[in-house]
């Protein structure tokens, strides 16, 4: 039994590492993906291309627009002369935002009346538009407050020093500068790991079936459990190595902190990998061709990423989809990754995720083992 397991492991490792290309493809693509995607994944909104159209030409309107040029959120690219230019700029995706100030802007402000500013936003990317709208409002509110203070100061200087002010003193925990990258880098590690492992294991059994070696293997006394374990362990080790390498790269390159315990991360990774491998092998045992298993692997991986909370908040999903996310091991693993990297929490906090992944993993592996008959029927 031990001998059979040992031999099947030796064989699987040879398959994985004999080929120079295979060795290369186990290490380099995950690393490369993490580096590129670590940068690409961001919801921060900066440098929004902006055009301004000022019909008022007053000191007030200039100061107002100045605040947009000064902000890193916006980048004023075009100073327009007439309204007809707006459509063409938006149609050709040259700008996302057009700010328009009507004549009489300063006049209204000085009288304490409502002064309108028009902002035309390209809503194609709803997220960017939404956040940009928020920033526009922030700048406008701040401008109005400052303007009001200046006015009040001129009228009744003594009174304002005692006016009650309520301020929000924000204290971001775990990530004082609110670096968006800290959220995405652990997420990318989990996503890349899932994709690599599922696609590798989805091929594991079906490839042997297609080549014909599986039939030869099935007439030996090997038990389904031995075969599954033998097929799983090498990928588990490859997965653990991938996590260690990408985690080191993430902390060194992206300066994401690692505050937790390495062993908690490795335990979580092992449990996660067992679920991912279980699903991969299950796919492999029910398919007859590599093409089928690959299609099925994609059928699984895509929603698994989308519903994991990797980039799209679970709390904003409809209830039915939220329930489905409980079947997604990546959902739990991302909590473990972010917990150990950024929050530095341990098993005391992460045990529910660990438990969930254990259940999903043992379920998937059991199903894969049951599904794997040593018969061709």
């Amino acid at each position: 039994m031990i001998e059979r397991l040992r031999q099947i492991l030796v064989k699987e490792f040879i398959h994985l590492f004999r080929d120079k290309h295979a060795r290369f493809s186990l290490i380099v693509p995950p690393l490369l993906q993490m580096l590129i995607f670590g940068y690409a994944a961001t919801y921060e909104v900066n440098r929004v291309s902006t055009a301004v159209l000022d019909f008022d030409h007053s000191p007030e309107s200039r100061e107002f627009l100045e605040r947009f040029s000064a902000s890193s959120r916006f980048q004023v690219r075009y100073i327009l002369q007439n309204e007809s230019q707006i459509t063409s700029l938006l149609d050709h995706r040259r700008v996302v935002l057009v700010l328009q100030i009507q004549p009489g802007f300063a006049e209204l402000l000085r009288k304490g009346r409502t002064a309108p500013v028009q902002a035309v936003l390209d809503g194609t990317d709803s997220n960017t538009a939404l956040i940009a709208a928020g920033y526009i409002n922030q700048i406008a509110t701040r401008f109005a407050q400052d303007y009001q203070l200046q006015l009040a100061d001129r009228l009744r200087p003594a009174l304002m020093t005692f006016a009650p002010r309520i301020e929000l003193q924000e204290r971001p925990w775990y990530n004082a500068n609110l670096e968006g990258r800290w959220f995405f880098v652990p997420g990318v590690i989990g996503t890349v790991l899932l994709v690599t492992v599922i696609t590798l294991t989805a091929f594991a059994v079906v490839r042997e079936r297609e080549i014909g070696t599986l039939e030869q293997l099935m007439v030996t006394p090997i038990s389904p459990a031995e075969l599954i374990v033998g097929k799983t362990l090498p990928f588990l080790l490859v997965g653990l190595a991938t996590v260690i390498i990408t985690a080191i790269a993430g902390t060194l390159w992206f300066q994401v902190p690692f505050r937790g315990n390495v062993f908690v991360l490795l335990l979580g990774t092992t449990l996660f990998l067992s679920s991912a491998l279980g699903v991969g092998l299950l796919i492999s045992t029910i398919c007859w061709t590599q093409q089928q298993s690959f299609s099925l692997a994609f059928f699984y991986v895509t929603p698994a990423i989308m519903l994991s909370g990797f980039g799209y908040p679970i709390a904003s999903m409809p209830h039915a989809l939220q329930l489905i996310t409980y079947l997604d091991p990546l959902r739990f693993y991302l909590v473990v990754l972010r917990g150990t990297f950024i929050k530095g929490v341990g098993l005391g906090v992460l045990w529910p995720q660990m438990l969930a992944m254990t259940l999903l993993g043992s379920g998937a592996l059991t199903l894969a083992t049951l599904r794997f008959h040593k018969t061709l029927d």
Binding site: G212, E215, Q216, V219, P221, T375, D377
Partner: protein, 320 residues
């Protein structure tokens, strides 16, 4: 479980259906210890299906099969320890070396550590692969691959070996070497169960089972089959104007079958004494007969006769 005979295969009324299609139709036979048991039949006749049932790869629809003393339905795992199997499709790991493949299958079959080195050496010797231990299996030529596959299948000294068309696509010299190996193993008391559709290979078998359309239509030694397949006498006729000759002979009372064999005709007649009358009848039609004589039927004759249903399968002695 009665372990009646560790070296034998016993099959009783075995049936395998795939949907509406009956691949194996109530076949029964028994093998004897140490014999080379050949399974002969056209493609799709149910040979491979039968062999896969016996190895526990397919479950029979009904009937019974005992291999090495174990029932294929109840204890396939025990059977797997006692058999070697080489599938039709070549299936060793191409990216493993010769030695690694042998080592892998030795591990799968649980060859004891003490015997390991010896068994692998034996297999290398047998396959003629000494000195090529570290070659990648994928780079070997067909004959070597075949012998290596056999080596892998018998590393654990199984008492029964199943070979499913082991020599398809292998050059004649390698085929002969391969059959020498089979004969040697059989000499050591191993029961060999082999499917083939090469007639010359079938001659090497101790006994042959002939399958057609899922049915077992004949069973016996090659000689028994050759003789038994033909009821009556087989005559070789060499003459000119073959077409007219066939026409004439079909109408001749006492000629039961006419078949073209190369430039000549094979006639099946009820009585060898009819030969002069046949010659006379042909010559009366101005067909010149070069030669007309009784011959021993070949296995191919038997095969054709049996699968086309133009002969009976009860063995009968040829009067000498």
């Amino acid at each position: 479980m009665t372990r009646s005979n560790g070296n034998s295969v016993e099959v009783e009324n075995l049936v395998k259906r795939f949907g509406d299609f009956t691949a194996v139709d109530r076949i029964s036979f028994q093998t004897r210890t140490g014999e080379v048991f050949g399974f002969l039949g056209p493609n799709g006749s149910g040979k491979s299906t039968t062999i896969r049932i016996l190895c526990g790869l397919l479950r029979p629809t009904s009937g019974r099969a005992i291999v090495a003393g174990y029932d294929v339905v109840q204890s396939p795992e025990l059977i797997r320890r006692n058999i070697g199997y080489m599938s039709q499709k070549f299936s060793l790991y191409a990216d493993l070396t010769v030695f690694e493949n042998l080592r892998f299958y030795a591990g799968m079959y649980g060859v004891p550590a003490a015997e390991l080195r010896g068994r692998i050496d034996w297999a290398l010797e047998m396959a003629g692969l000494r000195g090529r231990e570290s070659n990648l299996t994928g780079t070997l030529a067909g004959g070597w691959k075949q012998r290596l596959a056999l080596g892998c299948a018998v590393l654990h000294r199984p008492p029964i070996v199943f070979l499913d068309e082991p020599t398809s696509g292998v050059d004649p010299l390698s085929r002969r070497l391969f059959w020498e190996l089979i004969q040697r193993m059989s000499g050591d008391g191993v029961t060999i169960f082999v499917t083939t559709h090469y007639m010359d290979e079938a001659e090497y078998c101790n006994r042959l089972a002939l399958m057609n359309g899922g049915k077992l239509i004949a069973l016996g030694t090659p000689t028994e089959l050759k003789l038994g397949s033909i009821q009556g006498w087989l005559l070789l006729l060499e003459c000119d104007r073959l077409g007219e000759a066939i026409e004439r002979l079909r109408r001749f009372d006492g000629v039961r079958d006419v078949a073209v064999f190369g430039n000549a005709l094979h006639l099946v007649v009820s009585d060898a004494a009819a030969a002069p009358a046949i010659r006379a009848a042909l010559e009366a039609d101005a067909i010149s007969v070069t030669s007309l004589q009784p011959i021993r039927p070949s296995l191919e004759d038997a095969f054709v006769a049996l699968t086309t249903g133009r002969g009976a399968n009860c063995p009968s002695e040829l009067p000498s």
